[in-house]
């Protein structure tokens, strides 16, 4: 193996090159504002293009270019075939360049609304946003939408690049009018620090060299500003926070707690607290491959050794003992929805917040926010690329800080439990109630005691199937037999519950989710009371049935699929509902214009076309013993 030897003079020169500060920024703006062209121009002018890349650019410009005989800098950045063919940006592209003063990572983000989630991806790690405006068009709805997302993601620095000045005759008044309009708008978003620069990415004016065509502008060039700008830093030194990513048990005597410091500094001897348990201990050492360290600070990945044998696992957070963050299981948050399937209240998701992963459901959609105007809108569901303020209920308390105080401890994603897609990005605003206030009433009379008195095992028999499939008929027969055997039962039927408890609910998807949630909670209380509960509900969606199942202990929930073909249900049409639905008088009718998702693995699968109602009932009774 060759082990390189460091040298003298050349080494000093290289050392000066190596640890230049870095700035990560995004570019955003409307389609055709010239984002990609501007980045290409920056790379070109910063001399970060290699000869073979320039050669490829010339070839590509002739083939795909939109600039006639000139080089089309946009082609440097649009990397996907589909993007080059359509001449648009679909996904965020990361580009690298450096000057003598700084290294830059640019995230070039898509302008189209349908790719907003990709823009958010780029924005989430950026320190500065470069917002492009076409001088001819001025502030567009897209500009407002992107600015709102930039503000929501907490990017403190904004550059308003008024591009294509060459096409408005380098007109000062035009520039100032756009700038004034933008500042007024940005103020409402809480974007404090805005630098407006008139430029032409195509011609190179004010990109790296001051424009001779705009002598009236005496501010910095774009590159000059990017080199000099100081990223917004917190005024006070924030207290120490380190989420535990990994517990290193290298050998029996070693327990190292690994993580990347989210805020503050840490030194050996410092008193720290472990959350959520709240135990305090002392940092023994900051250890690692390069030996022990005297101090580590925000952004460092470290391994901590603690003085006491405290219980710490992945997802816990080690914090400054005297200034701990909050712990809560009910949160209010702002959400950017990114899934094609709209968000409705009640559905469970995985919530990932730093290294913690819990199950969460949206308990209420407080309001949606018009991304362009900021107006508050009512709504029972949130579609892709929409922003909403919601309340969340978690199955376990999490350690967090408001997003405004910490991106690391306040930003989270929601992951669909079944498709695994990343469905939403969230920013915690505050806790609705603190976990410390939750004390379950310890009861000596419990489920086991109540069930023992009745001499039975409590269960929830969940009958699902199309309208008219025979759910109520079979559930009634089962209940009669159980009663005859001296069991204590209760039947919750779709119709009787809808007349009382759920009479405020309609038949939209959101209402149907809530309908099932309430019924499941009622069934859970009844099982807790020791009863055998029979639930006969269409309950068409798998996710709601899963939600219901998750409320019960293993073995308590028995899913009974009443499998009757749609044609047969429609032929029976006991209540005349199918006929109405076919005539269009009933909306959202399961099987007609709303989906029924059959169970994938029901405990009991009954085919009414094959067996009589009696035989079906007997099978249920046998199955539950």
């Amino acid at each position: 193996m060759t082990r390189p030897e460091p040298q003298g003079g050349l080494g000093d020169y290289l050392a000066a090159q190596v640890d230049k500060p870095q700035l990560r920024f995004i570019t955003c703006g409307s389609v055709d504002d010239g984002k990609s062209t501007l980045i290409g121009r920056l790379l070109y002018e910063a001399k970060r293009l290699f000869d073979d890349q320039l050669l490829a650019l010339e070839t590509d410009s002739r083939r795909y270019g939109t600039q006639g005989e000139r080089m089309d800098f946009a082609l440097l950045v649009d990397g996907l075939q589909a993007e080059r063919e359509q001449g648009i940006t679909i996904d965020v592209a990361y580009r690298f360049f450096d000057t003598d003063r700084r290294k830059f990572i640019v995230a070039d983000t898509p302008g189209h609304e349908q790719y907003t989630r990709n823009m958010a991806t780029g924005a989430s790690t950026a320190e500065l946003a470069l917002i492009l405006v076409d001088a001819r068009k001025g502030i567009l709805p897209q500009t407002r939408r992107h600015s709102r997302i930039v503000a929501m993601m907490g990017i403190g620095q904004v550059v308003l690049a008024v591009n294509k000045m060459d096409l408005v005759g380098y007109d000062r008044e035009r520039f100032e009018a756009i700038t004034a309009e933008y500042r007024a708008f940005a103020e409402g978003l809480g974007l404090p620090d805005i630098r407006a620069i008139p430029l032409s990415a195509l011609e190179g004016d004010n990109v790296t060299t001051p424009s001779r065509a705009m002598p009236w502008y005496d501010g910095p060039t774009l590159l000059g500003h990017l080199e000099a700008v100081e990223p917004a830093r917190a005024a006070d030194q924030p207290p120490f926070r380190m989420p535990v990513q990994w517990v290193n048990r290298a050998h029996a005597d070693f327990r190292g707690f690994c993580g990347r410091i989210a805020a503050g500094t840490v030194r050996p001897g410092q008193t720290v607290r472990v959350l959520p348990s709240g135990v305090t201990t002392t940092v023994l050492a900051i250890t690692g491959f390069d030996g022990d360290r005297a101090e580590a600070r925000s952004g460092d990945s470290v391994t901590l050794l603690l003085a006491d044998a405290v219980d710490v696992s992945r997802g816990d957070v080690i914090v400054a003992a005297d200034q701990p963050p909050e712990v809560a299981d009910q949160l209010e948050a702002r959400l950017l929805w990114m899934s094609e399937h709209p968000l409705v209240a009640g559905r469970p998701f995985r919530l990932k917040l730093h290294c913690q992963e819990v199950t969460a459901s949206v308990t209420a959609i407080k309001y949606r926010e018009d991304v362009t105007s900021g107006a508050r809108l009512a709504g029972k569901s949130v579609a892709m690329n929409e922003i909403a303020v919601v309340t969340l209920s978690l199955d376990r308390p999490v350690v967090f800080e408001p997003y405004a105080a910490s991106r690391t401890l306040g930003g989270f994603i929601l992951i669909d439990k079944f498709s695994n897609e990343t469905a939403g990005a969230g920013m915690v605003e505050f806790a609705l109630r603190r976990a410390a206030n939750i004390h379950w009433q310890a009861m000596e009379v419990d489920k086991a005691a109540r069930a023992a008195l009745k001499g039975q095992t409590p269960k929830c028999l969940w009958f699902t199937g199309l309208s008219g499939a025979g759910k109520s008929t079979i559930a009634n027969l089962v209940e009669k037999r159980l009663l005859a055997e001296g069991r204590h039962t209760y039947l919750l039927d779709g119709d009787n519950v809808r007349h009382g408890l759920n009479r405020d609910l309609g038949f939209t998807e959101a209402d149907r989710v809530e309908n099932i949630r309430r019924v499941a909670e009622v069934a859970k209380l009844m099982v807790d009371a020791g009863l055998i509960v029979l639930v006969a509900f269409i309950s068409p969606f798998r996710s709601e049935r899963r939600l219901a199942r998750a409320l019960f202990e293993p073995g308590e929930f028995v899913e009974v699929f009443i499998d009757t073909p749609l044609a047969e249900c429609e032929r029976r049409d006991v209540k005349g509902l199918y006929a109405k639905a076919r005539r269009g008088e009933l909306k959202n009718f399961t099987g007609i214009d709303s989906a029924y998702e059959p169970p994938e693995a029901p405990e009991i699968h009954l085919r009414t076309a094959k067996d009589s109602a009696d035989r079906c009932a007997q099978r249920v009774l046998r199955a539950i013993g």
């Binding site: 082990r3 030897e5 040298q7 290289l14 460092d300």
Partner: protein, 296 residues
């Protein structure tokens, strides 16, 4: 403190991946990026060794120096090394000359990689790719989701916010993780220099037997390289900016014998490192297409 930031970010990625994956593995291609990646993995889990094996997909056309370096590194660090060769391709004698670089790469690299990943049921694979290397790589996530069959769908990438990586996969799906996503070629060289990371000697200039072919210097690494009419091996002082299959990897003429000289040369380079890779120029969008099919 830029290198420190990059180092901390990569370590965070390693730990996050290992904490959430069932069967992780590291693609080890023996080059400078793999060497840096391995060094970062050692730091991430120190004093424990990296809790995953290394996988080398051997096309049987790698430089001899690479194989030597690979075996020595694995032995010195006590790491589990899996070497996979596409036996089927070997039996059919697939090589860069009679089949062309595209078929050779597809059979002996992409197919071979998929065979190895399937055989060991790895659900998370570390790769040393960097976003500054190539345009389609510039678009890739740090945690890049792969459908069954290892396909990459660039139009449906998972959103990736902050450092919150969604590592959930279903059986048959997998994730490729790129800890060096935000590093540049220069960062890699600077880091090798700072950390004194051992690398294959081919990266340093030395007199080597080469022939001029398709505008590149190709090293005659063994007697399997068929010489074309008029080609006579000559000694030239050359080095390599990237390493792959020797018949497909062009050297550059250089006097850079030390790491400092290599870094200085990189600072003033006028061509990108992938210029020496003959397989990248198989057509516009060729890297994106290879990646969709499962190539790293």
């Amino acid at each position: 403190m830029s290198l420190n930031t990059l180092e901390s970010e990569s370590i965070e990625i390693f730990r996050e991946a290992v904490a959430t994956a069932a069967r992780p593995v590291m693609m080890y291609s023996i080059g400078k990026d793999s060497s840096v990646m391995l060094h970062l993995a050692r730091k991430a889990f120190f004093p424990a060794p990296p809790p995953f094996p290394l996988l080398h997909v051997d096309t049987t056309w790698k430089f001899r120096d690479m194989i030597e370096h690979r075996d020595r590194t694995a032995a010195a660090l006590g790491l589990r090394l899996i070497v996979h060769v596409n036996r089927d391709g070997l039996e059919r004698n697939v090589n860069p000359f009679t089949h062309g670089s595209a078929v050779h790469t597809d059979v002996m690299k992409t197919e071979a990689l998929k065979q190895a990943l399937d055989a060991h049921r790895f659900d998370l694979v570390f790769g040393g790719a960097r976003r500054d290397e190539e345009k389609s790589r510039a678009k890739e996530r740090v945690f890049s989701f792969r459908q069954p069959g290892h396909r990459w769908d660039p139009k449906r990438q998972r959103p990736e916010l902050w450092a919150l990586y969604n590592t959930h996969v279903k059986p048959g799906e997998s994730i490729r993780v790129f800890p060096l996503s935000n590093w540049t070629e220069l960062d890699v060289w600077q880091y090798i220099r700072r950390e004194r990371i051992p690398i294959v000697p081919l990266y340093f200039a030395r007199e080597r037997p080469v022939v001029r072919r398709d505008g590149a210097w190709i090293m005659v690494d063994d007697d399997r390289l068929p010489l074309r009419p008029g080609e006579i091996p000559q000694m030239r002082k050359v080095r390599f900016r990237t390493l792959g299959c020797y018949p497909l990897t062009g050297a550059i003429e250089s006097d850079a014998e030390t790491i400092e000289e290599v870094v200085a040369e990189t600072l003033n380079a006028r061509s990108s490192e992938r210029q020496g890779r003959l397989i990248d120029s198989d057509g516009a969008g060729s890297m994106e297409r290879k990646k969709q099919e499962g190539y790293f």
